[in-house]
C-alpha cells in the first residue's frame, strides 16, 4: 500500500461568525477574524490517498486525473471566492481551517478511482494547518 499526496493552491476570503451569538460575543471569541468585511489567505491543500500500485502503470492513481478532480471539486469552487458568501457548506459552518478540511474531505470522498482518501490537510498559512482523516478516524 502506498500513500500519495497531491497539492493544490487556492486563495479565498472568509470571516468567522456565529449567527446565534451577539456581535460582542462573536468578537470576543473570534477576535479580528469576525470582521464582517472578511479577510483572505493563500491556502494550500494537500490531499493524500492510499492504494495499491497498479502493476501495469506503476501508479496508485493517475496524477493528472487526481489533479483534475481537485480542480473540479475544490479549486474551481473555492479559488478567488468568498467562502462565507459563495460556498454552500459555509452558509452554516464557520469557515475555519478545521471545517475547510472536513468540507474538502466530503467533496473528495469516493471521487478518486482506485484509491481511498487517507488525509486532507489544509494550510491557512505556513504556520497553521488542519488535518482530517475522516469521520471514523
Amino acid at each position: 500500500m502506498i500513500l500519495l499526496t497531491r497539492k493544490a493552491d487556492f486563495s479565498a476570503a472568509h470571516f468567522y461568525w456565529n449567527d446565534s451569538w451577539t456581535e460582542a460575543e462573536n468578537f470576543r471569541v473570534f477576535g479580528k477574524c469576525a470582521n464582517r468585511q472578511g479577510h483572505g489567505h493563500n491556502y494550500t491543500l494537500e490531499v493524500t490517498v492510499e492504494g495499491e500500485v497498479d502493476p501495469v502503470s506503476g501508479f496508485v492513481v493517475d496524477l493528472k486525473q487526481l489533479k483534475d478532480i481537485l480542480e473540479q471539486e475544490v479549486v474551481s469552487v473555492y479559488d478567488h471566492r468568498h467562502l462565507n458568501h459563495e460556498v454552500p457548506e459555509f452558509k452554516t459552518a464557520v469557515p475555519t481551517t478545521e471545517n475547510i478540511a472536513i468540507a474538502i474531505w466530503h467533496r473528495l470522498d469516493g471521487k478518486v478511482p482506485n484509491a481511498k482518501l487517507h488525509r486532507v490537510r489544509v494550510y491557512e498559512m505556513p504556520e497553521l494547518f488542519a488535518d482530517f482523516y475522516g469521520e471514523g478516524a
Binding site: L3, Y16, N18, S20, W21, V29, F30, G31, A93, V94, P95, T96, T97, E98, N99, A101, I102, P126, E127, L128, F129, A130, D131, F132, Y133, G134, E135, A137
Partner: protein, 145 residues
C-alpha cells in the same frame, strides 16, 4: 455540540543558544561525542516547534481549539522561557543535554498541559535540515511523513 475529530497544527519560532556537554564525562570524550556542538561558549539556532492537537470540532466555533488561547499559552509557557535564551540555563536542562530530542520531550511536557485539546505530536526543527518528532512516552511511532 461537537463535530468530528480533526487535527490542528501550529508552528512557533524561537531562537536560542545551547551547548551539548555532559559534566560527568571527560572534556576529551565530550569533544569526541559532540564535536563542534561542544564549543564551550555555545552556539545557537532558529528553532521551529510544531505542535499538533486533536479534538472534536466545536460546531459553534468550527474549531478544535481557539488559536488565541493556544497562542497565548505558547507565549507564556514556551516562548517567554525559550526565545532568546540559553537552553542550558533552563531548569529542565540542568541535568540533561539540550539536544533537540530532549527539547522535544520538554515541549511535550509543556504542551501536554494545554487544557483545551489533546496533544498528539511535537516536532522540533533545529535547522532546515533536521527535525525531531515526539509522540509522548511509550507512543508507537507513526510512520507518516
Amino acid at each position: 455540540m461537537n463535530g468530528p475529530i480533526a487535527h490542528l497544527s501550529r508552528r512557533y519560532r524561537f531562537s536560542a543558544s545551547h551547548r551539548l556537554h555532559v559534566d560527568a564525562i571527560s572534556p576529551e570524550r565530550n569533544r569526541e561525542m559532540f564535536g563542534k556542538c561542544n564549543n564551550p561558549f555555545g552556539h545557537g539556532h532558529n528553532y521551529i516547534a510544531q505542535v499538533t492537537f486533536s479534538g472534536p470540532v466545536d460546531v459553534a466555533t468550527g474549531m478544535v481549539t481557539n488559536l488565541a488561547d493556544l497562542d497565548s499559552f505558547a507565549q507564556r509557557e514556551l516562548l517567554d522561557h525559550f526565545d532568546h535564551a540559553n537552553l542550558n540555563s533552563l531548569e529542565f536542562f540542568r541535568d540533561r543535554v539540550p539536544s533537540t530530542e530532549n527539547v522535544c520531550v520538554e515541549l511535550w511536557r509543556i504542551f501536554a498541559e494545554y487544557p483545551y485539546a489533546k496533544l498528539e505530536r511535537v516536532r522540533v526543527e533545529e535547522t532546515g535540515n533536521n527535525s525531531f518528532d515526539y509522540f509522548g512516552e511509550g507512543a508507537k511511532i507513526q510512520h507518516e511523513e
